[in-house]
Amino acid sequence: MTQLLEITGLKKQFGGLTAVNDVSFSVGEGEIAALLGPNGSGKTTVLNMISGALSPTAGTIALAGERISHLAPHRIAHKGVSRTFQLVKILPSLTVAENVVAALAFRRDPLWGSRATERAHELLAEVGLAGRGGEHADDLTYIDQKRMELARALAAEPRLLLLDEWLSGLNPTELRVGIDLIVSLRDRGMTILLVEHIMEAVRALCSRAVVMNVGNKIAEGPTAEVLADPVVISAYLGEGHA
């Protein structure tokens, strides 16, 4: 399998705090990989550096062999990286459809006008918001806002999709639908790196997992093996449980 995302020696410091420390891993083309770890271990910070929201203190990130670290986020987006945010980010003054049109209008091969509107409605239908395009983004429930955010991320037809706890907060039925949706994205050839605390979803979706703890990578490998690793279990449950 060829590697789509390659992260080498990645480091991020916030003042005196080292949030991510010398982390290296890669994600293969067409794979769903999990980035795991207890609260505050640096997962979101890694995604922020991949998408360009933060620039790394040290280390490199490459997409399909091309270095993207230190590019501005809009340039990284144009290289084919899309994401959702842990704390969902909507565009509150726009309608649901316009939220998606915004992403269509500024992607590498932009869509505009009626073609963009049509495509936005298709994308909304795909995430379970069929016919809701005219509503105000502000009026959506939290879960529907997350759906809209995914439609916005998909609008760019990314090669690499970053999901930061996108499944959390869903009820069991919704979780099932969410998992099926992510699988269908992979079947279309999309590569996905997801941060998730719901282990049921991680086991169902991810062939491989990377685990972090206080900024360091502590395990990497096939999901079942990694989750059985005593080091990982003790990191999640705290020392003394190992």
């Binding site: 360009g52 929201a53 501005a72 994401r83 980010k89 909507i90 915004a102 992403a103 500024f106 992607r107």
Partner: protein, 310 residues
């Protein structure tokens, strides 16, 4: 579509009527009309950039003054239309340099910087005139009547509104809304935020420079204290904010009544003028922060909702 056409026809008719107004007015009336149109253009141009980005720029008079000074320096050397083009290009050039250097600044620093810029340009021009040219003031002898100046300003005002209308319907208009809502999302959807802001700043500053250039012949004699008077910047901000910097017609609806009010105030209370100006500034920011047009829309919507509920 038909509504757009009707809108354009109505605006066209209104412009025609406005263009004929000088024939019905005396010299004082034409002067008022000219000044008012100047401020409508300044406020509308200011709002092109500051409305969507929420950067409060106090650099208006820097560009306005640059326009006026370009005309004063070049009016003898080249034909008038070429002088205007040159002024516009200088304004554009300064805006691009200043924009590249400052648009990364956060809100309040930008306000201070933009005010500083106006003062800096004024001091530079003063220094140059005193030390190099040897005189402070300059005379502008151009055979351009007040009515002709008014017509030019009217044309520029129309172009400014047209640009505002076009932006609101274009991709750049959507980019501005997205940036206004959330810059992180904007960048992650592929919007080059600094470029969008720079483009808007440059368009806005070029129009403001042209207002200064077009109005210059009106003074006959100019010096830095006249054309770089910071009151111009403050008035522009207040007018645009009163009407609503995020609405196409907002700045105009703010500029007309405030221009007339300030004319009256400066004639009747010349000593308290700046205090009144300051108080109005505070009042507008606190009472109608989004402008009267947005306020009226809200009231209208609420009334309609109430009707629908009954």
């Amino acid at each position: 579509m038909t509504r757009t056409i009707i809108g354009f026809v109505l605006v066209g008719l209104a412009l025609l009527a406005l263009a004929f107004m000088p024939t019905q007015l005396g010299a004082y009336g034409v002067g008022l009309l000219l000044g008012m149109t100047g401020y409508v253009t300044l406020a509308s141009a200011w709002a092109l950039f500051s409305g969507p980005t929420r950067y409060i720029s106090l650099a208006t008079v820097a560009f306005f003054g640059i326009g006026a000074y370009t005309v004063a320096v070049l009016s003898e050397a080249m034909p008038y239309p070429l002088v205007l083009v040159t002024a516009g290009l200088i304004g554009l050039g300064v805006a691009l340099v200043v924009g590249l250097a400052t648009l990364r600044l956060a809100g309040v620093y930008f306000v201070i910087f933009s005010f500083g810029l106006a003062e800096l340009v004024r001091q530079l021009v003063t220094w140059y005139e005193v030390n190099v040219t040897g005189t402070l003031g300059r005379y502008i002898f151009l055979p351009i009547s007040a009515t002709e100046i008014y017509w030019q300003l009217l044309g520029l005002a129309a172009i400014t509104l047209l640009i505002g209308w076009w932006i609101s319907r274009s991709r750049i208009g959507l980019a501005l809304k997205v940036i206004g809502d959330d810059e992180t999302v904007a960048a992650h959807t592929g919007i080059d935020i600094s470029r969008v802001k720079l483009a808007l700043f440059a368009i806005s500053a070029t129009i403001i420079t042209l207002v200064g250039a077009i109005q210059a012949p009106r003074w006959t004699y100019i010096e830095p204290a006249i054309v770089f008077n910071p009151t111009v910047s403050f008035l522009t901000v207040i007018m645009a904010l009163l009407g609503g910097a995020n609405r196409l017609w907002g700045p105009m609806l703010g500029a007309i009544p405030l221009f007339l009010l300030f004319e009256w105030l400066s004639a009747n209370f010349p000593n308290h003028y700046s205090i009144i100006l300051g108080l109005m500034f505070i009042a507008i920011v606190f009472i109608v922060p989004r402008g009267v047009v947005a306020l009226a829309e809200d009231l209208f919507k609420r009334a309609r909702r109430k009707e629908a509920a009954q």
